[in-house]
């Protein structure tokens, strides 16, 4: 099933520049229904309150990291099926393995291109 252009996407990153970049790329790729959160805790709260279809998250964030949020999502009966794409500067193999074990849907290493983002979204929603 291809990605629904109207799906609601939550972008989680502590850096305002990265949130804007990811939202801009998503918009250019045809996904304009986006919302944002500054850290994992705020992201989790928004996910519990709203109905999101997809999460794009950073790893390193204050209060609650991306990997902690991912684990919380997968442990939550209502949220566990939401695809989570991690976009992170954590480029060690151990990080990727940890994310896969935590249930990540796909993984992008910064810096990245719009093509990479498109390809990963395509793979998640194929």
């Amino acid at each position: 099933m291809p990605a629904d252009p109207n799906m609601k996407i939550l972008v989680v990153d502590d850096m305002v520049t990265m949130r804007k970049i990811v939202k801009n790329i998503l918009k250019q790729l045809g996904f304009a229904n986006t919302d944002e959160a500054e850290n994992g805790q705020e992201g989790l709260q928004k996910l519990r309150e709203g109905s999101y279809n997809f999460v794009v998250s950073d790893w390193n964030m204050p209060v609650m990291t991306g990997i902690e949020m991912l684990r919380a999502i997968r442990a939550d009966a209502k949220l566990k099926s939401i695809p989570v794409l991690m976009v992170t500067a954590e480029a060690q193999q151990s990080n990727l393995i940890e994310a896969v074990q935590a249930g990540v849907s796909n993984y992008i290493v910064k810096p990245f291109t719009a093509e990479t983002m498109q390809e990963k979204i395509g793979k998640i929603f194929k």
């Binding site: 850096m15 790329i25 719009a114």
Partner: protein, 195 residues
Amino acid sequence: MENQGHKLYEELGALARFVDNAMHAISAAAPQIISSSTQLPTAASHLSDLKKMTEDGTLEVMRLTELVQDNHAAMAKELCGIAEVLKAMDCAILAGRLEQVRATMAQDDKHLMEIMTTLSFQDLVAQRVKKLVTILDEVQTKLVELVVVFGLQRNGNAAAGTGIADQMLKQLEESKTTAMKQQVADDLLAQFGFK
């Protein structure tokens, strides 16, 4: 027994001399240690400023890029409408030329998106600066501990304002307050007859 006591006495003497030498060495380095411990917070603060400056610059480039993207989207829509009208009026050649313009714009949209993604360098810079500030904070804490534990005191103004690090920090500090805005430069230039 007496021999053993003598040996112990000798070893204690050697140990006392070692401690004394070490204390002297630390005392001699005291001005530099104190100087470094006071410089580090300023250096960390400048690093944080650097992060803020890259963030501000990046956000401005993003704002302008988004404006161009929005304009492009509006123009593409308009061109599409005009092309439809031209086709209906049997002006296929003109419509074809408009299509070429739209294709060029689409290519530019791709470039604009590349500009946006390239700006993610700021996030990587910010993360590294954050780590460096944490390291500087930790080194400063350890230096302060050293100062406190060994009761180091600055001897007059020795080592104050003489090192390269001190000079550079002074320059950085001065640049915060004395950096001239263009308007001030223009006013000064006007006083010298530049118009």
